[in-house]
């Protein structure tokens, strides 16, 4: 009984703890609302980002059979590495990324330069360039699916009127690099997404002091030398950040090829991407255990992108001043 009474008695705080508590108390009270908001964001990240990522890693080492989940060791990883479509998917993904860099990275930059040079109707043209971004991706891609239709599509209609040979566009069977099917996907993706990048470039261009261009002109620089010696160095930070974001985004290409090929992967898998292969493992092939194989491929993709991003940031880090 004596022990119980002791337990019920409020514990006396040591002077040191009491002082720390005194200091902590008002601080916590003062920042309670900030912590409240922070907890919300942290919970969101926990539930919707970090927990799924951790779960993915765990699942990649598991298998589920007859409702029973057990450890599978490296079996899921062995399965994906032995799947011939694994390497096809990586080749296609790299092909898409490179094509998207050549077309999708350069085009918005030059469009931004053009818009920056214009004196009239700049606002209208900016709206026009940004308009496709406001279309839901599925609608934009269904629109392109109609454009690309080999029988009734707009593009082949135009080619026929010009007496030029028509194309099968996304349904082209070629698997060479670059394939017509993949070029078609990149064109649609660029049209859909270039508005956002163009506006960011434009904002960066407008921050370049005019004196630099005036000085360059006095030194006799033409348009291309101004771009090379003034525009590119002055927007280097933005260019470098957008390059990283674009590569990470294009390596995760899914919806573009998925919709344009009606849920498939193109003729001879020529538009199959890594994320599409993850989708196929998880949903298109039967068997609940395929979630585990899909998780293994997801982990591989995450590691590749993490290593690439880390390497890229290290290579492009600013020198210490």
């Amino acid at each position: 009984m004596a022990d119980l009474a002791t337990l019920r008695k409020p514990a006396a705080l040591s002077p040191a703890r009491s002082r720390a508590g005194d200091r902590l108390g008002p601080k916590v009270r003062r920042n309670a609302s900030a912590h409240g908001f922070l907890i919300g964001a942290v919970l969101c990240f926990c539930f919707f980002s970090w927990y799924p990522m951790c779960r993915e890693v765990v699942m990649s080492f598991q298998k589920t059979k007859l409702g029973v989940t057990s450890w599978a060791g490296w079996a899921n990883y062995e399965r994906i590495f032995h799947d011939p479509t694994f390497w096809v998917a990586w080749r296609n993904t790299v092909e898409f990324t490179v094509l998207a860099l050549i077309i999708g990275y350069a085009v918005p930059f030059f469009v931004a330069i053009l818009l920056n040079e214009l004196r009239h109707a700049r606002g209208y043209l900016r709206c026009l360039v940004y308009l496709p971004v406001m279309l839901p991706p599925t609608s934009a891609l269904l629109l392109f699916a109609y454009f690309y239709d080999p029988t009734y599509g707009l593009f082949n209609d135009v080619l026929r009127h010009l007496d030029l040979p028509v194309s099968q566009w996304v349904q082209s069977p070629g698997t060479g690099v670059p394939s017509m099917a993949m070029i078609s996907v990149v064109i649609a993706a660029t049209w859909m997404n270039m508005g956002g990048a163009t506006l960011i470039y434009l904002a960066a261009l407008q921050n370049i002091p005019g004196e630099l261009y005036e000085a360059a002109e006095l030194d006799g620089a033409g348009l291309f030398r101004k771009i090379r010696h003034v525009t590119i160095p002055q927007t280097r930070l933005i260019l470098s950040m957008l390059l990283l974001l674009q590569i990470v985004a294009t390596m995760q290409m899914f919806v573009e090829a998925f919709i344009l090929t009606n849920g498939g992967a193109g003729v001879n898998n020529n538009t199959l991407s890594v994320v599409n292969l993850i989708y196929q493992y998880a949903f298109a092939l039967s068997g609940a255990s395929n979630y585990d194989t899909a998780s293994a491929l997801g982990v591989v993709l995450m590691l590749v992108l993490a290593v690439f991003s880390g390497g890229y940031l290290w290579l492009t880090r600013q020198p210490e001043r």
């Binding site: 908001f37 009734y152 849920g263 998880a282 298109a284 092939l285 039967s286």
Partner: protein, 465 residues
């Protein structure tokens, strides 16, 4: 100063409150997102509520109305049961179906294809209903086609009740046949006849093509299976351990399709088509023939795509001999969720018997279908044998609005139902690219395509064993 302090204090308290509210709201949202069974079980007074999916949505007004009438009548006859209908079309989308099984939040009575059994069992989401199914609870049990019951049985355990069973044939557009100078009462039966008729129909011009087939959404592989069955081949061996479509029969089917596409140009250059597209072309009188089960006409082409019921007929599946060696047979069923209570399982069985397993009522209320202007008289679903099949035929004949002669060559072929291959959806998925290559690549190497697909399917079968 005091006033300012007080205002700042009040503002701080408001912020604190706002912060707490945000956290509370997130907590509630997280709680709401947690998985819970889709419906309540037996409540007070023995009342039971069951959720049932695949109810026809309002976009199919006639079927929607009839379903709701049936639910009302059933609830009146069984006042202790409430049916919560989940309206959806299509009834199953593989991606969301897989996610649903993984989350374990399927409805109490949920729709599956025959090919889904292994996936549902692997996920551990089907309840054992064996003790609840007897000739008393399901009076037509002994007359259900054995292959359909086998599709919901594993070992000696019953996991569901079949509600549909089909074989496939060749749907023809009678209008285009007449315009092309062909006899629609004598649909083609051999691949050579199909090719000749398709060429004649394509010559009509105006974007009309003689023949169509799928090559996306697992439907390409599905049709290839049916076509190879008709030729006398099989997709996988009897043990379900190895692919067997790299055969003379497989070559024949793909060569016929390739010839129609690139030699005869009687198939459209637009390919990569999935289920739902050919039906629209047929309803718009732009397509002469394609392979399907009869329900494509009465469930899709006529009610959804606006086709005229008298414009379509059916022949047997094409084959080299003209007599199909068999047909892929498939169908769908309802299974019961693992989390169902015994009362919910019993109520679900009662509902299925009322709606799907008794000629003359529910789905088989042909008199009502006729009154609603719904076409009646198709040779489907082939779910029963014996006395129940005879009873179904009798009630159907008494309300038939369809000319049976238009379907006579299909029904007279008595195609042998072959069932679906092991790991069917994965096999179909693997064959989609083969169909797509044959229909889009003029230089497609059929042997090479079949060899590659064979090794892929062998790997799938090895992994699923």
């Amino acid at each position: 100063m005091k006033g300012l302090n007080s205002r700042l204090h009040r503002r701080a308290r408001r912020r604190q409150l706002a912060g707490i509210t945000v956290v509370a709201a997130l907590g509630l949202a997280a709680a709401a997102c947690s998985s819970t069974p889709a419906a309540t079980g037996a409540g007070g007074g023995g009342h039971v509520t069951i959720s049932v999916d695949c109810a026809p949505p309002a976009s199919a007004p006639q079927q929607h109305k009839e379903w709701n009438e049936d639910v009302a009548l059933f609830e009146k006859q069984n006042p202790n049961i409430t049916v919560n209908s989940i309206y959806e079309n299509p009834c199953e989308v593989p991606a969301s179906f897989t996610a649903m099984l993984d989350a374990g939040n399927e409805p109490n009575v949920f729709y599956t294809y025959f090919t889904d059994k292994n996936q549902v069992l692997d996920a551990g989401q089907a309840a054992d209903i064996t003790p609840y199914v007897t000739s008393t609870t399901v009076p037509t049990l002994k007359d259900i086609v054995p292959t359909a019951l086998a599709a919901v049985t594993a070992g000696k355990t019953l996991y569901g009740l079949p509600t549909s069973n089909y074989t496939q044939g060749l749907i023809i557009n009678r209008v285009l046949f007449k315009e092309a100078g062909l006899n629609p009462d004598d649909p083609p039966a051999t691949w050579a006849q199909v090719e000749a008729d398709a060429k004649a129909i394509t010559r009509l011009g105006h974007g009309i093509y003689g023949y169509g087939d799928y090559s996306a959404g697992n439907n390409g592989g599905w049709h290839f299976s049916s076509e190879i069955d008709a030729e006398g081949g099989r997709m996988v061996n009897a043990a379900g351990t190895a692919a067997s479509f790299d055969s003379a029969q497989g070559q024949t089917v793909l060569q016929a399709l390739h010839t129609m596409r690139f030699v005869d140009h009687s198939m459209s250059p637009t390919q990569q088509l999935a289920w739902g597209t050919l039906q629209k072309q047929m309803a718009a009188n732009k397509l002469g023939m394609y392979i399907a089960a009869p329900d494509d006409i009465y469930n899709v082409i006529v009610p959804q795509d606006g086709g005229n019921i008298g414009d379509y007929g059916m022949g047997p599946l094409p084959s080299t001999s003209g007599t199909p060696a068999g047909s892929l047979s498939g169908g769908n069923d309802y299974m019961f969720a693992k989390h169902d209570t015994p009362a919910q399982i019993q109520a679900g069985i009662k509902w299925l018997v009322f709606e799907n397993l008794t000629p003359g009522q529910g789905f088989y209320n042909y008199a009502r279908q006729k009154a609603d202007g719904f076409p009646v008289g198709f040779p489907e679903p082939q779910l029963f044998t014996g006395a129940t099949a005879a009873r179904q035929q009798q009630v159907m004949d008494s309300s038939a609005t369809v000319n049976p002669a238009y379907f006579s060559t299909f029904t007279n072929a008595h195609e042998l139902a072959m069932g679906e291959p092991a790991d069917a959806q994965a096999v179909y998925k693997t064959l989609d690219p083969v169909m797509l290559a044959v229909l889009t690549n003029p230089n497609a190497n059929i042997s090479q395509l079949l060899t590659t697909a064979t090794s892929q399917v062998n790997q799938i079968l090895a992994n699923s064993g």
